[in-house]
């Protein structure tokens, strides 16, 4: 074999290729086992009107987004204008899950930055968050008409995410059924 001396080079290139690919991955994004499973049920008090309750069943028959946010969450501020835009466009109802927050702070946040949510429910002790496998805000779940989670986005939503990821999926889910 004449090209034997090339073996280490080829091995090195293969290794470099794997490592290079590894660099493009985001280790903080952990695939959720909840995708394609029914969204965990909850019944929580609404943030603005705590005497009223809200649950998954109220959204049956609609394609909707569940956005987990908190007033203390810095990257939530980053995605907030995009949610406001999404709401203004009337593309999809967004339900807010106010995660481990103080009611006063959360209301102040919505007053200052605009309220993109059809309904916001309060999860002050983060129990529903655990049911949804939330480990960092913001997280956004796309839920279909049957109440099945079809997609989970971890981290702030960007215009790019809306255009290339969310809108095509929303269109597809709205067509089906």
């Amino acid at each position: 074999m004449k090209a034997k001396f090339l073996v280490p080079l080829v091995l090195f290139l293969a290794l470099a290729g794997f490592l290079g690919y590894g660099l493009t991955l985001n280790p903080s994004v952990v695939p959720s086992p909840l995708v394609d499973k029914p969204a965990p049920d909850f019944r929580l008090a609404k943030l603005e009107t705590p005497e009223e309750q809200f649950g998954i069943a109220d959204m049956r028959g609609q394609v909707w987004l569940l956005n987990v946010w908190a007033s203390w969450c810095v990257s939530c501020r980053q995605e907030h204008p995009i949610l406001v835009e999404l709401n203004r466009g009337g593309v999809i109802p967004v339900i807010g899950l106010n995660y481990k927050d103080e009611r006063k702070d959360a209301l102040g946040y919505l007053r200052d930055h605009g309220n993109p949510y059809v309904v916001t429910v309060a999860d002050p002790d983060g129990r529903v968050g655990i049911d949804y496998g939330v480990y960092g805000t913001p997280e956004t779940f796309l839920i279909d008409r049957e109440g099945v989670i079809r997609y989970k986005h971890i981290g702030p939503i960007t215009r790019d995410t809306v255009k290339n990821v969310l809108l095509p999926r929303i269109a597809e889910l709205s067509r089906a059924g």
Partner: protein
């Protein structure tokens, strides 16, 4: 002079010892100031911590939920404690967490199709390496030394014995 020096030295030693003492005591005092969970049931707490060391905190990823100070780790520890207190088995609690956070919460991943390579990969590499080594050794054992003609052998012997090389050397 010398006595004074000794005195100074011993003073310095005393001071150093005192400082070490303070350094040892201060963290204990601080720790006492923190809200340590009331341990009603040490056996339960031991089980909670035992399992918590096997679970990854998803916020810090390289820490278990027993070690992490992230709020989520605290919440998950509370979940584990609550479920144990409610009489759930360790497997049930693990299933509960895996259903929500995926296999990634486990420091010991389960053996299944997607993790086969992870589990048997090192073994495969070892076997492959040992096999390759064995092959090389066999080949080497089968190979005899370079084949020499009688003339070359005689020349080699002459060289080894220190005799002057003959004219044939020129071609090298």
């Amino acid at each position: 002079m010398q006595a004074e020096l000794l005195l100074r030295l011993s003073r310095a030693t005393l001071l150093a010892l005192a400082l070490v003492g303070v350094a040892l005591v201060v963290p204990a005092v601080q720790a006492a100031g923190e809200a340590t969970p009331v341990v009603d049931d040490p056996v339960l707490e031991a089980r909670v911590m035992d399992l918590s060391y096997k679970l990854r905190c998803l916020v810090c990823q390289n820490e278990s939920i027993a070690e992490s100070r992230a709020p989520l780790a605290l919440d998950l520890r509370n979940q584990v404690r609550e479920q144990f207190a409610a009489g759930k088995s360790e497997k049930e609690v693990i299933d509960f967490l895996v259903a929500r956070y995926g296999d990634f919460v486990l420091y010991t991943p389960p053996f299944k199709a997607t993790t086969v390579l992870l589990w048997i990969g090192p073994g495969l590499l070892l076997i492959a390496g040992a096999g390759w080594l064995l092959l090389r050794l066999r080949i080497r054992a089968r190979e005899q030394g370079p084949h020499l003609t009688d003339a070359e052998r005689a020349r080699a012997r002459a060289l080894l014995e220190g005799a002057p090389a003959d004219s044939e050397e020129q071609h090298s």
